[in-house]
Amino acid sequence: MNKSRAFIPLMAFLALAGLFYFVLMKMNKGEYNPRDIPTEFIGRPAPNIDLPNLLVENDRVKSSDYAGKVWLLNIWGTWCPECWKEHDYLMYLSRQGIPILGIDWRDEKADAIDFLKQKGNPFVEVGFDPNSDAAIDWGVYGAPETFLIDAEGIVREKHAGALYPQVWEEKFAKYFQAQKPTE
């Protein structure tokens, strides 16, 4: 009886080690992020956006202009390294005809304009949000974040962090396949 008891700590250790290994693997693969905050918006109507246009003086960017379309909302800033990383992929998506509305969040206007000039502009329109007005309305807590809004104006998907092909295929691609053949 005592002999089998002696193994209990070892078993507990192995069980914990297994659990930690499993969770760390998930984190490494990007499938699990402990800092992720579950979004409150999936299945809910998209909050209204009404921001000054970054690139056009005296113009406003309004989400109401996108009603009836499936579109992406991408929150970014030139201060955010992951946004630089995902930029090429956003360019690729925009070439595929995916409408992306950008929100330049807490940024310097000149820096943002410069960034888009140099690296290309994947956005249909870019709203300028230096005071987090739209960001707070959308429950954004970091950049980049990407939302998908369907034709009824309902938020269907959200991804925190850079957008990569794998994430795109898993979460977003299906909403556009019905509309147009991809490639």
Partner: protein
Amino acid sequence: MRFIVRKITVLKALVLALGLSLGAQAPASIDTYEFSDPGQEALYLDLIQELRCLVCQNQNIADSNAELAQDLRRKTYEMVKKGENKDQIVEFMVARYGDFVMYSPPFKATTLMLWVGPVLIFVLAVAMLIRVIRRRPSSNDRLLSEEQRQRAEQLLNQTEEK
């Protein structure tokens, strides 16, 4: 010369340490929000204590100087100024950031384990402790039989003689 240099470094370190400890006591928020109504001010101060900084996650927005925390403080200020009450502002934040935005999450089905878990583990631990203590042979029980005790004594005496 060298002594002086070292003295200065020590002094610097002391000043730095003092500054750090003072800094830690002062609130991180340096916003100068003004209230004409002390009730509103109290509500504002109460709310920024209770709302979590979503960036740092283990600080409230009163203690955090993350940019989002600054903006959330401003938002809170604006809403308080507009005359909205605590429930309205909390509801506004929770609708956007979920229960996580509250430093002390509400007691409901999804947060049940959060509240009950530690108590459960504690009760379990105490129960196990009691079991272990009960199983331990009491000191009245003889550990050795009379025969064994005599033999042990004999052995001990042998070593002493040597």
